[in-house]
């Protein structure tokens, strides 16, 4: 059942949530081009990505959006049919600003954000990388989610037996000083960003991480999804800054940032 007309309190809550998101987004959008990071002279191991990292807007133009890049390729008919169903309050990259009663961002009712969206929206994008025996573990403050970036030689799963996942299946390797992650088998219900950019179950994601100095980590996310996009979506270079401990934590760890539906009571829309 769909509640087409939500109670005023729920609408208010939705508005607050979105305003928070927009505010965050705007806070993260510089008014002018951000300087590039000052190089650190501290020693570091380029093949060790361990640590807490905070996403920045360093080096990005003022108009840069919180997504893979502003240059989203055109969509296939299949992509258009998915995209037209998305309703947001954003004008950039979206289907147009919709009345808030129609917004259907899955994040509004606490569905998993999925990858790569969890990198940039809707809340503060704390990330931690940790080196374990057979993998690099990628932790996110959002939703207390994690990804296994397997480095033990396994290959990405293919075939119809594979259950798609919100955070996909990922393997990784080093190419020089670049840590390259490839992933597939994503649940297609997640959005790639807050603007409603869709994807299919054929989404393939390539992430290229490079530690440029002790305190900075570059990331470029490229995606291909022939079902939805007519070309590869090439990502902007994003820069993370290393922090000794996460902000907002009282235990020198990630605070618990979980979306709790009973605190929201927002109904899904079709």
């Amino acid at each position: 059942m769909q509640n087409r007309f939500l109670g005023s309190s729920i609408l208010l809550l939705v508005a607050v949530l979105v305003l928070v998101s927009v505010s965050f987004s705007q806070n993260r959008q510089p008014t002018g081009a951000q300087r590039t990071p000052a190089a650190s002279n501290n020693p570091f191991d380029p093949h060790d990505l361990s640590g807490y990292w905070e996403l920045t807007n360093l080096g990005r133009p003022a108009s840069a959006l919180n997504t893979i890049s502003n240059n989203r390729p055109s969509m296939t008919d299949r992509g258009k049919s998915l995209f037209i169903k998305t309703k947001t309050g954003y004008k950039e990259l979206s289907t147009g600003v919709s009345p808030q009663k129609d917004w259907n961002d899955p994040a509004l009712w606490c569905d998993p954000l999925g990858f790569p969206r969890i990198l940039w929206t809707p809340t503060l994008p704390g990330m931690r990388l940790a080196q374990a025996r057979d993998e690099v573990i990628q932790f996110f403050e959002n939703g207390r989610a994690w990804r296994d970036l397997w480095t033990d030689g396994r290959k990405l799963p293919t075939g119809t037996d594979v259950d798609p996942r919100w955070f996909g299946y990922a393997v990784a390797k080093w190419e020089g000083d670049a840590f390259v992650v490839t992933s597939n088998n994503y649940i297609e219900k997640s959005w790639l960003d807050q603007y409603g950019s869709p994807h299919s179950d054929q989404l393939m994601v390539e992430e290229r991480y490079r530690r440029t100095d002790r305190d900075h980590l570059e990331l470029v996310v490229n995606i291909t999804d022939a079902k939805v996009y007519t070309a590869a979506w090439k990502g902007d270079k994003r820069i993370f800054a290393r922090v000794d401990k996460p902000a907002r934590s009282d235990f020198n760890d990630f605070p618990e940032n979980l979306c709790v539906w009973s605190e929201h009571k927002i109904q899904p829309k079709s």
Binding site: M1, N3, P106, W109, C110, D111, P112, A130, Q131, A132, R133, D134, I137, F139, G143, R144, A145, W146, D148, W150, D152, G153, R154, K155, P157, G159, D161, V162, D163, P164, R165, W166, F167, I187, K189, D250, F251, N252, D253, F254, P255, E256, L258, V260, W261, S262, K265, Q267, P268
Partner: protein, 310 residues
Amino acid sequence: MRHCFVASFVALVAVLAVAPILAAETSAQAPPPKTPAAKAQSSETHDISGIWRMLAPGATRARAATVGAGAFHPTLGNDRPALTAWGQTKWSQTRPSGRNTKLAYVYLPDQKDWNDPLFVCDPAGYPRVGGGNSLYRFAQLPNEVVEFFERDHVWRDLWTDGRKLPGNNPKPRWYGYSVAHWEGDTFVVESSGFDDRTWLDLQGSIHSDQMRLEERYKVLDRDHLEFSMTLTDPKAYTAPWIGPKQLMERMDTSDGVAPGIWGKKPDGTAYGDIREDYCVYSEEHAFWVNDDPTGHGDNFSKPGPGAERK
């Protein structure tokens, strides 16, 4: 992807887990095998990395015969201590999902009356997240053991770097704050700072923000741990709740991951992985709306209690 999280949860539930490990110490004495068919292999290091399944109390290695029983067993067992007046009041507000047991405050057969927070996909919290058919995975990092859960795809940090549990009134967390250390061949985890909205089990056992947990993972051999948990919560219970000893069994990989999708290691064994078992509210919502066996319509449109499929 798992769809009917709630259904699977109702169908199972049980026990818990966690465990440990750590780092660079290498001595640990080899405990003798203590279970039937236990491998004559000792733990040579303080390391319990891997994927583990919790068996029911008293269970041996007959996994197929015991998992179902374990799935319905409360993590802390049935010997719950008496509640305080505060605890009694809180407990009286629970409406568990048709469980006619002494642990349940009330037996309500009609799902419209139930208010289990999991049925709206609120966080399970610890220790409940370990119940049901969720497996546990531990990974050793330099300063901690990370405990991963299939359910809700969340993790706990079990810090072994010497930090202390936070003092009075930390910001409550669904999964608490945890520190850990080794005592001989036993990995000991202590936790506090829990959000008191979670239930401890399917039956609606409650706790307060004063709850403290001690988990003990005794290494029996390479493939088995002995788990036990003690809950202390003087605000809610008149005495500690001491759970039964339960066996944890190592698995190469989760049986919730399609067999063979990752291929095999050079030694022929499976690459380890656990499933991603989210409770997805929009799916649960659709499920309930479209398949409400009681005919009560859309329970989720009503404020307050959620609902569960039978």
